[in-house]
């Protein structure tokens, strides 16, 4: 029974590393959906956009994908702020328009995906970097750098955001806007500006998450769809908007998925994530979720 035991440990370790990466993918949604209450289902599409930018700059100029993503952070921030402004003017200001704003983000998701297909085709693309090949070995436990580097980057991003949200003025204002928008106005802070900043940050995280994704696996435009369920499952599991909760939910899902892929085959893994989400949604009524 030695081999299944080693296999089990390796599957769990792989799941932990995968979970860290999932946290990086989800963190943006934890901000936009969990804190701002904006259902941005196009989030994964921006992650794929980030992957493709990393791919283009990496294959053209040989720049490290993570470096590319850090260069892209301001660009994605501006993009996010612009999207929030459109969203605010078209939907939020007019009152409750849930159906149409959902359709808006769905359209955004679709347009991004189709545009990527038109420009790059449906072939899988990948990046090259020194840490993609090698693997560290500790006894029988394998730690591929391809997974370890994204894991560390994800943890670093999470810690930075947690510090920002808890310790800085803007960060605290973002938390405040989720609790009481009118009160914020009375304190002479513009809630729309705060929300614009928060949404900009949420989209900026996709630049890094996208680069991490294309380090872990080759990417084609429709890969993003698999992440819609994962991202929202983690966000709901983690208790909407709490960053430590997001990390916990992400690691949980990563481990369960990794175990399923190891023992039942990778083609079942997506169903696990989504099944997880369906069950979470079905058995945790909206009240307990805090809304």
């Amino acid at each position: 029974m030695d081999i299944p035991y080693e296999l089990l440990i390796n599957a769990i370790v792989a799941g932990l590393l995968l979970g860290g990466f999932y946290a990086a993918v989800t963190i943006g949604v934890s901000i936009s959906f969990g804190i701002l209450d904006i259902v941005n289902i196009a989030h994964p599409a921006f992650i794929i956009l980030g992957s493709y930018l990393a791919y283009v700059l990496n294959s053209r100029f040989g720049i490290d994908p993570i470096l590319v993503s850090i260069m892209m952070l301001p660009v994605f921030y501006v993009l996010g702020a612009a999207i929030y402004q459109t969203y605010y003017l078209s939907f939020e200001r007019r009152g409750h328009e849930a159906l149409r704003s959902l359709a808006f983000f769905f359209g955004l998701l679709f347009v991004t995906e189709v545009t990527l297909v038109l420009v790059f085709g449906v072939d899988y693309r990948y990046v090259e970097a020194s840490y993609i090949g090698p693997t560290l070995h500790f006894g029988f436990v394998d730690l591929p750098l391809r997974m370890l580097v994204p894991f560390l980057m994800a943890v670093a991003m999470l810690l930075a955001l947690e510090y920002f949200l808890a310790r800085t003025f803007i960060g605290r204002a973002i938390n405040a806007v989720a609790q009481d928008q009118v009160a914020l106005k009375l304190m002479a802070a513009d809630p729309i500006r705060i929300k614009r900043i928060a949404f900009g940050i949420s989209i900026a995280t996709t630049a890094l998450a996208g680069a991490l994704l294309i380090i872990i696996q080759p990417v084609e435009p429709s890969v993003g769809r698999e992440y819609i369920g994962r991202v929202f499952a983690i966000c709901v599991l983690g208790g909407l908007g709490s960053l430590p909760g997001t990390m916990l939910g992400a690691v949980l899902l990563g481990v369960v998925e990794s175990l399923t892929a190891t023992f039942y085959g990778p083609s079942w893994a997506p169903a696990v994530a989504f099944g997880f989400l369906l069950l979470t949604l079905a058995f945790r009524p909206a009240g307990i979720l805090g809304r």
Partner: protein
């Protein structure tokens, strides 16, 4: 107009459409027309849940593909005529719709929409792993060379879809003018208030998810015979989900005519764009039109026309 009169009128329109189509004597016209009609059924089905009760379903493709795969499974064991397959596909997708309704009864707004997206991926994974219907390799369906009544098989499929479209639109219109429809509208406008005034919201939502799912399954049932090769990637294509949302929103979601107008307009544009430009570009057009309409014309084309008339009369 009473519902029975409306059905007779709709059938008359359908008969005229079919008669004129035969005059054109082009096989291609039937191939293109079938797709547009299929979208009328899909858009109308989506609108029964999305437009009338306000619950957004992103999983249209799952219900549609379930109907199609039910046909594949039956074709492999014991071939039945297509009208029977449509009934079976409708029953299966309707039951899944009912199940989804039960699972998501307590979810409102965004959570329901996300759950339907999740459902689509779960169903797709199950079908991809089910070897009997071809798994990820896909399945071939040999369709008969000729059909009863009309001779040419594609004309037969066209006729079936035409009748199905009449059935779907008539049902939607009948719902709109019944107690059921008013119940749906109360859920859309204020679910809490509706429940407080004694509207059985849970039961009504189940009726809506079941009916909507059933019509999507029916629309999918003849698909294997139309495409003759079906694999999960094409059956669960995101195009179905996008179109079934975009068409009612572009046409207008509060009346039965909205989805019909949207489906004919967007469906025709896509058919033309597929031939003249490329199939990826036509999807891009749908996405952009959807975004433009939700921002500029929140009540769709029907809303625009109504607003125009209201301005003229005052």
């Amino acid at each position: 107009m009473r519902s029975s009169t409306f059905v007779i009128c709709a059938l008359a329109v359908a008969a005229v459409v079919f008669g004129l189509s035969r005059l054109i004597e082009s096989e291609y016209f039937f191939f293109a027309g079938y797709v547009v009609l299929q979208y009328i059924v899909l858009a109308t089905a989506w609108n029964i849940l999305g437009g009338y009760t306000g619950y957004v379903n992103f999983g249209s493709a799952a219900f549609f593909a379930l109907g199609a795969y039910a046909s594949v499974a039956i074709h492999k064991t014991f071939p039945l005529p297509i009208p029977v397959l449509i009934v079976i596909g409708g029953v299966i997708s309707g039951l899944v719709g009912l199940g989804m309704g039960y699972l998501t009864l307590r979810l409102r707004g965004a959570f329901f929409a996300i759950a339907t997206l999740a459902l689509a991926v779960v169903v797709q994974t199950l079908i991809t792993n089910w070897d009997f219907v071809g798994g990820s390799r896909g399945a071939y369906i040999l369709r008969p060379a000729s059909a009863p009544l009309v001779g040419s098989y594609i004309e037969y499929l066209f006729l079936i879809m035409l009748v199905l479209a009449v059935a779907a639109v008539s049902t939607a219109r009948a719902i709109e003018r019944s107690r059921l429809g008013y119940g749906f509208a109360t859920i859309r406008d204020d679910e809490l208030a509706a429940e407080a005034s004694g509207v059985p919201t849970l039961r009504l939502k189940l009726v809506a998810t079941t009916l909507s799912g059933a019509f999507m399954g029916m629309a999918g049932a003849p698909l294997p015979y139309y495409v003759t090769y079906l694999d999960p990637a094409s059956g669960f294509s995101l195009a179905y989900a996008v179109n079934s949302i975009a068409m009612p929103l572009v046409g207008g979601t509060t009346t039965w005519i909205g989805p019909v107008v949207g489906a004919i307009l967007l469906g025709t544009i896509q058919q033309v764009a597929t031939v003249t430009i490329s199939s990826a570009v036509n999807l891009l057009i749908v996405g952009l039109v959807l975004i433009a309409f939700v921002i500029i014309a929140p009540n769709g084309l029907v809303g625009l026309v109504q607003g125009w008339f209201a301005k003229r009369t005052t």
